[in-house]
């Protein structure tokens, strides 16, 4: 089974975000980055499917040179080779444009499965995978929490709202967007890191010039606060805790 995993690099979750001069995105210069959380789970699930059924796992990431960190880490964990869709402004594409470019980048590989996370932690569009499936003519399933690839047909368990689940059956090739927690993520071993150095990273530049956009960010800003929070301790967490106990007792009267 040939599996392609799409992985995106996003701002580190604990990073302090600063808005750029134009007010249209965050300042990326001094930011630290990490792999998008659910994409990490998509890779893990792909590696497990390969271990069970044989085949190959190809990681594909789009963005500037810094995304090589994500690619190398995936190779160290066990992916066999990589495709880097390289370019400096690619991370700000609309989901439709991104899906177009990614579809072009992987089409000739003729994968049996394409796996990706269910949404990115930065833009949070939750669309790129699904649009790609449509462009490649594949069936898809989103928010997948279990994959059974042992039969002729693919069986996937989807998470629904508030504790409900549903199994779907579909033919391969297919595209799945993976929910966090599908399995426990492995660490890269020293052996894996050494082996990764010899693995192929194919760099491609997007073939389409016209990148249709259908939505444009005018500005970004900190959300307006709707509730008046009483902040306690003035930056001193211990003093805040003492004040909080008193408030919970005498003001909120919940203890």
């Amino acid at each position: 089974m040939k599996i392609i995993v799409l992985m995106k690099q996003v701002a580190n979750k604990d990073a302090i975000l600063r808005i750029n001069k134009e007010g249209t995105w965050i300042e990326e210069g001094d930011l630290s980055f990490e792999v998008n959380e659910s994409d990490g789970y998509a890779l893990e699930e792909s590696l497990r499917l390969k271990e069970k059924h044989g085949g190959e796992v190809i990681v594909c990431s789009m963005g500037p040179q810094r995304v090589k960190t994500v690619i190398k880490d995936a190779l160290a964990r066990g992916a066999d080779r990589a495709i880097h869709v390289s370019g400096d402004d690619l991370q700000h594409l609309s989901p439709y444009a991104a899906a177009n470019i990614l579809a072009d980048a992987v089409r000739d590989e003729q994968p049996d499965l394409i796996m990706t996370g269910l949404q990115s932690d930065d833009y949070g569009y939750a669309q790129t995978g699904v649009i790609m499936a449509e462009l490649l003519g594949m069936p898809h399933a989103t928010i997948v929490i279990e994959v059974d690839a042992s039969g002729e047909q693919l069986r996937v368990k989807r998470e629904l709202e508030s504790g409900w689940y549903q199994w779907y059956e579909m033919p391969k090739p297919a595209l799945l967007t993976i929910q966090s927690g599908i399995s426990q993520i492995r660490y890269a071993t020293l052996k894996g890191i050494m082996a990764a150095k010899k693995k192929e990273i194919k760099e491609v530049s997007p073939a389409i010039d016209a990148r249709p956009s259908h939505q444009r960010i005018e500005k970004i800003y900190l959300p307006e606060k709707t509730k008046q929070t009483q902040f306690l301790g003035n930056g001193d967490a211990k003093a805040g805790a003492v004040a909080l106990a008193e408030k919970l007792r005498n003001e909120a009267r919940v203890i």
Binding site: Y125, Q127, V130, P139, K227, T229, A237, G240
Partner: protein, 328 residues
């Protein structure tokens, strides 16, 4: 020329999803400001009763698109049907609730029109006839104002809670229901019946006090700290999704859209950032406390009391103080 607003109504097991009414409220509010008519669409088979139910709202009409293959939801079936309805109705805006079902098929639908969705919006403002949509980005840490570029239709989905379902306006008389037999191509995916996992061991919906931990707790060993606080308060321990994903706590302690929904008298969030999927599970709690070292963490937006600082400093002191109070 494209005109009007088409709102998608979702249903399951013979009843309308409550977010459908929120979407109707969103569409009506846009329609009033833009001076455009609002119609609704419902897909199904043998579901005309639900279409009648929607017709009670102030809508210019309800399109009930019917086909055997729409009896159960599938992305292929819904995409084909909606594409045909939209091509026939030619609306300027298509409004949908940002549910798991819509997330599953709507990007595919929009792709048929050469675009994506303006997804998961929290509000829409109109000035000079231009709609500016606001979306939460970076897991709730920032807002982005977004405008649509290019040809209609514009596809937008609204986050649960962005509009109030009870503010969807009823009509003075029932709207006309237009039944539209719709063609659906090959449906490649076969759904089985939805199910719930075996009965959950813990039911947090009855808890009076909940101490919830997030990724800020850093390691499984540190959970003890939160457990001691919960014990001092006579409360239960719960968590955000990453904690359950890592199997540090069982999944039946997860709070949020894919976990339990709770409303205790006191909810203490330790090292939880406050992503919408977590907030929907606890925002109706009585008193909400957040301890987080990031002053901009979205959890503070719904907290009554906040401590900006390290939870490892605050929690042991808080536990001791509460023990003292309880002993008085």
């Amino acid at each position: 020329m494209s005109n009007g607003i088409l709102v998608f109504a979702e249903h399951r097991d013979g009843s309308l999803n409550k977010t459908s009414f929120e979407a109707i409220a969103a569409a009506q509010s846009l329609g009033a400001e833009l001076g455009q008519e609002v119609s609704a669409v419902l897909l199904g088979s043998g579901a005309s009763g639900l279409a009648e139910e929607i017709a009670a709202y102030a809508l210019s009409k309800v399109i009930y698109a019917e086909n055997e293959k729409l009896k159960e939801y599938t992305p292929d079936g819904y995409t084909d049907a909606m594409e045909r309805v939209i091509r026939a109705a030619d609306p300027q805006y298509v409004i949908m609730p940002h549910t798991y079902l819509v997330r599953d098929y709507a990007p595919k639908l929009a792709a048929r029109f050469g675009k994506g969705l303006i997804s998961d919006c929290i509000r829409a403002k109109i000035s000079d006839g231009v709609v500016t949509f606001t979306r939460r980005i970076f897991l709730g840490k920032m807002d982005a104002d977004v405008v649509s570029d290019g040809e209609p239709p514009v596809f937008a989905t609204f986050q649960s809670g962005a509009y109030r379902g009870d503010q969807a306006q009823k009509g003075s008389s029932a709207a006309q229901v237009e039944t539209m037999p719709v063609e659906v191509g090959e449906v490649r995916m076969k759904p089985e019946a939805p199910f719930q996992e075996v009965k959950q061991a813990v039911d947090l919906s009855k808890a009076d006090v909940i101490v919830a931990i997030g990724r800020g707790i850093k390691s499984k060993e540190n959970i003890e700290l939160a457990e001691k606080l919960a014990a001092a308060l006579g409360g239960d321990i719960a968590a955000s999704r990453p904690i359950c994903d890592a199997e540090w706590l069982p999944i039946d302690r997860q709070i949020g859209s894919s976990g339990q929904t709770v409303a205790p008298k006191l909810y203490i969030a330790l090292g939880i950032s406050g992503a919408i999927q977590h907030l929907v599970g606890m925002k109706n709690s009585g008193t909400i406390v957040a301890i987080n070292k990031d002053p901009e963490a979205p959890i503070f937006d719904i907290a009554d009391y906040g401590i900006v600082g390290d939870l490892f400093d605050a929690v042991p002191v808080l536990t001791e103080e509460i023990k003292k109070i309880k002993e008085q």
